[in-house]
Symmetry: C2
Subunit: 752 residues, 2 copies
C-alpha cells in the first residue's frame, strides 16, 4: 500500500469533549494563585543565594574570568571605545542643553553599577542622543532662559544669568535621572521587564527616525553658529526650524567651516575604514582625532575670539560633588521620566539581546532593567542626564573583541583621565565640531525615512503605526510621541481582533476539511448544518461584532425570529378576540396588557440587568412591536438605511429556521473573557429557544478552562457535550444518518 | 454499519497547503483598499437618499407612524416620564454645581435633535448623574469659589459673588458640552462608533460604582445641610468626606428631616409599586409628588427662613437666550470632554441596544453617536451640561408603552411647562429633598459593590479590571478613572496574549488528535517529531515570548546549538594549529581573527539591522564565546541564576538535535504582524541550518494572507509546502514510512 503521496487515513469514534476526556483520561491541572504567591515569597538559603547571584552577575563571571585570554582584548577595546565616548558624551550634553562636562559625568558614574549588575558582557552604558534630547526638553521647559534673564540697566540690555540657569538645569537633569531610575528599579523589581515589548518595531523605528530629525534640527544652530531661542513643547521643532532659517544670514562662517571640514573628514574616514576594515587591528578613533585637531587649530590661533565662535568653554576639572535630587519637581517630569525609562530600557535590551545572541549567553530582561535603574540612580547624584546603552561605544567594544565588563572599566578610565586632566585643554573646541559629530552619526537613522514605503507593501497597519509614531514624535514632542505611538500600536492590535475575522465554511468534497466556499470551489454543503468559523479572541471589544457576524453569516437573527413568532401568536390571539369585541375595546385591552409588561421592566435593577446584558432582552416578555426586521445587518452597514425597517405584514407565520445545527469553529479564539462568554451563553439560549443546536468545535484548551471557570457550563447552560474536538466531529454528530462511513468507500476513487 | 456512536472515518490524501489549494481550486480574493475608498466616496442619487434617510431616521418612522394605535400610549408615557424628568433634572444640576434650572434646560433642548436623528424609538435624552458630576468637576476646577470671593470691608467678611460664579460655571458647562458634542459628532462621522466597545463591562461596572459612591458623597452635604467647600482633582472625594464628617455637628435638622422623610416615602412607594405593579395602569410619578408636597410644606410655612434651610431658590421663567461657547477654555477640558463623550455614548448605546432587542429593531451605533453629538451641540448654546440617555425617564417611557419619539416630545412639553410657568412655584423646595431623590436612586449602583466577589470566582483578570477602575475612579477622579480603566482593560488583553499560551502536544493513541501529554495520558509520541501548539496572536508583544516558549518546549535553542557547533569546529582547527605553533602565537592569532569579525559589526547600519532583529545574530559569524549555555531559559525565570552559565567544556562535539521535524500548530494564532513574522522567519532559517524541518500546521486563512503580504514565503524563505492543513497531515508528511495506514486496521479493535 505504498503510494507516492502520504495518505490521511483515520477510522475512529467521533468525539465530543466529555466522551473524549473520559476515554483518554483527562487529568485536571491546577494553577493555584495562592501556591504561586507562596512560592514567590518562600525563603531559603539556596533561594537567597540565587537572588544574590541573580542580581549581582559579577559574582558569576568574575571568578571565571580568563585573564590571559581576555584581558588584553578588553583593555584595547575599552580604551579605543573610550576615545569615542569622550567627544560623543560632550556632544550629547549639548543636546540636553547642559554643559559638555555633564556628558563626561554621564559617561562615567553610571558605569560602576552596571559593572556589578549588568548581564550583557560587552555593554557600555552611556549617553544616547534620543534620551539626551528628551532630557533637554525637560530642562528647557522647567528652567527656560526667560526665567534667568534680567534687564541690566548699566548695560542697557537683557542679560541672562548663565551660571544660575546651568545650575538649575543640572539640578533638573539630576532629579529627572533619579525619577527615571526609580521607575526603572520599580519596574525591574516587579518583574515588569516585559512591558518593554509593548514597543513594536514599527513604533520604535518611527520614533527613532523622528527623534533623529529633531536631533539634526537642534544641532543645526551649533553648526551654523546661530543664536536660536530654545523652544519646548508641541511644535517646538517647527519654531526652531523657522528661527534657524531666519537666522541663516547671520551664519558664523568659522563655525560652519569647522563643522563642514570635520564632518567631511569623518565621513571619508568612516567610508575608508569600513572598506579597509580587514587591514585595521581596531577601529580608528576618528572622533577624538577630529576633536584634538580642531582644538589645536582653534585654541592657539584664538579663532574663537576673532570669529566669535561658540566654544565648549571652561571644563571644570575633578569630580563633581554629589547633590540630592529635588523631589518637588517630579510632578512636572513624570511623563517624560516614564518615556525615558521605557525607551532607555528598550534600547538597552535590544542591543543586549543582539550581543547575547551573537556570543551565546542570556540576558535577563528584569535584571537589565534593575542594572540600568541603578546606573541612573548613582549618576543622578552627580546630575547626569539619563543614560542607557551608548550605542557606538558598545559597538566599538564588541568589534574590537571586548568580552567582559572590564572593557567598560577601561572606558571609565579614559573618561576619568579626560575629566581629571585633559578636559581643561578642550576649552577652545568649537561647539560646531561636536554638532557635526552628532549630525554625521545620524545618517543611518535618517535613512529610515524610507521605511514607510517598504512597510506599506508588507503590512498596511504596521505602516500606519510607523507614520503615526513619526508624526506624533516629530511635531508634538518625544514624550508625546511615546505615549501616542504605544497607544496606537496597541489600538492596532485591538483593531485586528475586530474586522474580517469570521466566515461561513463548508466541507471540501470528500475530506474532513472545512473552508470558505468563496475561496474553494469544490465544496459540498451539509444540509441543515451551518458552520461559521471565527478567528480572534472573543472579548469585550468584539463580542458584539462576533454575534453580528454569526447573524450575518447564517442569515438568521434569532432574537428577531423569536420576537416575530411571539408577535404572530399574539396577533392570532387578538384576531380571535376581535371576532368577539369591537376595535375600541381591543385598544383598551392593549393598554391593559401593557400593565403586565411593566412587571418586567419596572424596577431599576431590571434595567441595570439589561444594561449589563446590552441586548439580552430577547428572552423576556416584550410589548408588541409594530414592525419586525428580518434583515440581518452588520455593524459596518453601508447604504441600507432607507429600507432599514421593511414592514413585514404578519399575515403568514414566520418561517422556520433554515438549519437545525449551528457549528461555531472556535479554533482561532485564543482567549475569552466574561463578555465573550456572555454572548456565547446568550446565543446558546436563543438558538435553543428556536430549536437549533449550537455546537462549539475546536475549542482551545485554555478557552475551555476559561469557560469552566466563568460558569458557562453550569450557570450558562451550555452543555459540555456540545463541545467537539473538530468541526468534522461536530458535523458527524449533527447528522445521525452515518453518511460518513460511505466516504471510505467513495473516497479513494473520488480523489484525483 | 450502524453503530451507537457516530464514527469519524476518513481516507484521503494528506495535504500540504499548495497541494490542497491546487486540488481544490483556490480562488484568490482581493480586498483592495483603493476600491473600498472609492466606493466610500462614490456619489449617486440613491446613495444620497440613503445618507439622508440614515442620518434622519425620522423620515423613515414618521410616515409609518400609526396614530390610532400608538399616540395615546406615547402621550401617557411621555407625560408620566416628564414628571420624573423635572425633579431629576433639577437634582442632577446640583451635582454639576449649577443652578437647578439648568437641569430643566438640559432636559429640554437636547430632545429636539434626537427626535429627528435618534434611532432608538423609546429613548429620552437627558441628564445622567455620572455625566453631571463629571461636568461638575470641570466647573469647580475652572471656576473655583475662591476666584469669586472678595473681602467686603463693610460686612467684615469674605463674600462670594454667587451670580458671577454661577454665570462663569454656566459658560464653562456650555463650552464643555460644545466640545463634547464636537468630539461625538467627529467620532460619529468617522464611523468610530466601535471605540465604545473598548469599554469592557468590568470597567463600566467598576466605574459606575465608584461614580455612584462619589455622587452619594457629594449629595450628603445637601442632605445634612452642611456648608462644604467644593474640591476637585485627585482625592477630592476624600477631602469632601472629611469635611462632611467634621461638619456633622452643624447638621441642619430641617434639611435632614425633609431628606429622611422624602427618601423613606420614596423607598416605600417604590417597593409597593413594584409589588403591585399589575394593578397600576402606569408608574406612580412619586418624585414629582414628593417635590410638590415638600414645596407646599416648606413654602407657606417659611421653613427655609426659620431653619436657614438651603432651598432651590428663584427659578427664572422663560427660555434662556443662546450664548456662544468660550473656545479658549477647551484646552483645559479636553480630557474630560473625551471621557464625557465616550461614557455618555456608551450609556446611550447600551440602553438603546437593550430597547432595540426588546422591541425588535436595530440601533445604528454611528448614527446614535451623531444624534447624541447634535443633541449636546444644540444644548451647548443654552449652557446645558452634557446629556446622554436619561436612564429612569427612558425606563418610564418604555414601561408605560411608549413606542416612538413622540413620547420624548411629551417629556419636552412637561419640562417646558415647568420652565415657563410652574418653575416659579418651586422656589421654596429644599435642596435636601433633591439630594434624597438622587441618593435613593443610587441603591442599585451601590449594590454593585459586591461585584468583585462574584467576578473573582469567574475570572480573576476581569476582577482586577473592576478593582482598578473602581479605585482609580473613586480616589483620583472620574476622567482619570476612564483613562486608567480603559488603559488597564486593554493591557489585560495584551497580558492574555503573553502567558501560558503554548504547550508541547503529542498524539492521542489511534487518533488524529494531538493534545498536551500533561493532560491526557493515553498518548503515543512520534519519534523524531516535536509538536508545539501556540494559542495567541503572534505580534510585537509576544513574538520573543513565543520563540522562548518553543525553545523551552522543545528543549533546544537552535542559536546556541549553532554557536556550539561552530565553536567546536574552530576549537578543532585551533588544536590542529596548536601542534604546529606555540601558545603565544595562538593568542596573537586570535586577535587577528577578531579583525575579521569586525567586518560583520563595523558599520552602524549593521548594528541597526541587529537592533531591529533583536537577536538575529545567530546566523552571522561570531567571535568565539568562552562558555556555551545549552540550558533554555524562559523569560519568567525563577532561581536558576547561579547556574546561568554552566561551562560546557567543548571536548565532545555538540549532540545532534533530538528531532528532525518541528511542527508548530498555529490554529490559535489569529493574526500575525511583521515582528511575529520576523521571528517565524528567523526560526525557520536557524532550524534549517541545523537540518530540522519546520512545519506550520493549521495556519488560519487570514494569517496565511498576512504571511504572503509580508513576504514570509518569498523573502523569508519559508517554503509554502511546509504549511499543512492539520497537525496530522504534517506528521504524516514528516514520517515517510506510512505507519499510518496500519491505523485503519488496528484502529477499530483498539478502541474499547
Amino acid at each position: 500500500m505504498h503510494q507516492e503521496r502520504p495518505r490521511y487515513v483515520i477510522d475512529r469514534r467521533a468525539y465530543n469533549l466529555p466522551d473524549f476526556d473520559r476515554q483518554f483520561d483527562k487529568k485536571s491541572r491546577q494553577f493555584p494563585v495562592g501556591e504561586t504567591v507562596k512560592k514567590l515569597f518562600r525563603c531559603s538559603l539556596p533561594r537567597l543565594r540565587g537572588l544574590v547571584f541573580r542580581h549581582l552577575p559579577v559574582l558569576s563571571w568574575l571568578p571565571k574570568y580568563k585573564v590571559k585570554e581576555n584581558l588584553l582584548c578588553d583593555v584595547i577595546s575599552g580604551v579605543s571605545a573610550g576615545t569615542i565616548q569622550v567627544p560623543q558624551g560632550m556632544a550629547f550634553a549639548l543636546l540636553a542643553s547642559l554643559p559638555p562636562v555633564n556628558g563626561l559625568y554621564s559617561s562615567f558614574f553610571p558605569l560602576f553599577p552596571y559593572f556589578f549588575m549588568g548581564t550583557a558582557h560587552q555593554m557600555v552604558p552611556g549617553t544616547f542622543a534620543v534620551l539626551s534630547i528628551m532630557a533637554g526638553t525637560v530642562c528647557l521647559r522647567l528652567a527656560p532662559e526667560s526665567g534667568f534673564s534680567r534687564f541690566n540697566a548699566t548695560l542697557n540690555a537683557t542679560v541672562v544669568d548663565t551660571d544660575g540657569m546651568t545650575g538649575a538645569r543640572l539640578g533638573i537633569s539630576g532629579s529627572l535621572s533619579c525619577l527615571t531610575a526609580i521607575i526603572q528599579i520599580g519596574l525591574g523589581f516587579m518583574q515588569f521587564g516585559f512591558v518593554a515589548i509593548y514597543l513594536s518595531e514599527s513604533f520604535v523605528r518611527g520614533f527613532m527616525t523622528a527623534a533623529g530629525l529633531q536631533i539634526l534640527i537642534s544641532v543645526l544652530k551649533y553648526v551654523f553658529g546661530i543664536e536660536v531661542p530654545p523652544y519646548s513643547g508641541p511644535l517646538a521643532v517647527i519654531y526652531t526650524l523657522r528661527d534657524i532659517i531666519r537666522g541663516l544670514p547671520d551664519t558664523n562662517v568659522a563655525s560652519l567651516g569647522f563643522a563642514l571640514v570635520s564632518s567631511a573628514v569623518l565621513i571619508v574616514v568612516k567610508q575608508l575604514s569600513s572598506r579597509f576594515h580587514h587591514k585595521l587591528p581596531f577601529p580608528v578613533p576618528m572622533e577624538i582625532i577630529i576633536v584634538v585637531v580642531a582644538t589645536v587649530i582653534s585654541g592657539p590661533l584664538h579663532l574663537s575670539e576673532i570669529y566669535h565662535m561658540d566654544i565648549v568653554g571652561e571644563i571644570p576639572l575633578g569630580f563633581p560633588s554629589p547633590t540630592l535630587p529635588t523631589v518637588s519637581q517630579w510632578d512636572d517630569m513624570l511623563s517624560t521620566a516614564f518615556s525615558l525609562a521605557i525607551v532607555g530600557y528598550v534600547v538597552n535590551l535590544a542591543i543586549g539581546r543582539t550581543l547575547a545572541a551573537r556570543h551565546g549567553y542570556d540576558v535577563d530582561p528584569n535584571q537589565e532593567m534593575l542594572a540600568l535603574g541603578c546606573s541612573n540612580l548613582l549618576g543622578s547624584f552627580f546630575n547626569i542626564h539619563v543614560v542607557c546603552c551608548a550605542l557606538s561605544v558598545t559597538l566599538a567594544v564588541d568589534s574590537a573583541g571586548g568580552a567582559s565588563q572590564f572593557a567598560s572599566l577601561c572606558v571609565m578610565l579614559v573618561v576619568m583621565v579626560t575629566m581629571l586632566a585633559l578636559g581643561a585643554h578642550l576649552k577652545p573646541l568649537p561647539k560646531s565640531v561636536l554638532g557635526a559629530l552628532i549630525a554625521v552619526n545620524l545618517k543611518n537613522t535618517l535613512l529610515q525615512l524610507s521605511d514607510p514605503f517598504y512597510l506599506w507593501k508588507k503590512s498596511k497597519l504596521d505602516c500606519c503605526v510607523w507614520v503615526v509614531s513619526f508624526l506624533a514624535t516629530f511635531f508634538l514632542s518625544l514624550p508625546y510621541g511615546v505615549a501616542i505611538g504605544v497607544g496606537f500600536s496597541i489600538l492596532v492590535v485591538i483593531f485586528k481582533t475586530q474586522f474580517r475575522n469570521g466566515s461561513a465554511v463548508v466541507r471540501i468534497v470528500d475530506t474532513d476539511i472545512y473552508r470558505n466556499p468563496k475561496v474553494y470551489s469544490q465544496v459540498m454543503s451539509t444540509p441543515g448544518v451551518k458552520i461559521v468559523n471565527y478567528c480572534s479572541p472573543l472579548y469585550f471589544a468584539n463580542a458584539e461584532i462576533f454575534r453580528q457576524k454569526v447573524i450575518k453569516k447564517t442569515g438568521l437573527d434569532p432574537g428577531k425570529l423569536i420576537l416575530a413568532r411571539r408577535k404572530f401568536t399574539e396577533q392570532q390571539q387578538r384576531e380571535k378576540a376581535k371576532e368577539e369585541k369591537k376595535d375600541k375595546q381591543t385598544r383598551r385591552r392593549k393598554l391593559g396588557s401593557l400593565v403586565n409588561m411593566k412587571a418586567q421592566t419596572m424596577s431599576q435593577l431590571e434595567l441595570q440587568d439589561d444594561f449589563n446584558m446590552n441586548d439580552g432582552g430577547a428572552n423576556k416578555a416584550e410589548p408588541p412591536a409594530s414592525t419586525i426586521n428580518f434583515r440581518c445587518k452588520d455593524i459596518e452597514l453601508g447604504e441600507q438605511a432607507p429600507d432599514r425597517e421593511p414592514t413585514v405584514p404578519l399575515e403568514t407565520p414566520p418561517p422556520p429556521p433554515p438549519f437545525h445545527t449551528l457549528i461555531l469553529d472556535l479554533a482561532g479564539v485564543c482567549f475569552i473573557d466574561l463578555m465573550g462568554m456572555k454572548v456565547l451563553i446568550k446565543m446558546n439560549s436563543s438558538y435553543a429557544t428556536l430549536g437549533i443546536e449550537l455546537y462549539l468545535a475546536n475549542v482551545q484548551a485554555q478557552v475551555c478552562e476559561d469557560l469552566e471557570a466563568g460558569g458557562a457550563f453550569d450557570d450558562g447552560h451550555i452543555a459540555r457535550s456540545s463541545l467537539f474536538l473538530s468541526v468534522h466531529d461536530a458535523v458527524v454528530f449533527a447528522q445521525p444518518t452515518s453518511e460518513d462511513s460511505s466516504l471510505l468507500k467513495d473516497g479513494p476513487h473520488c480523489i484525483k
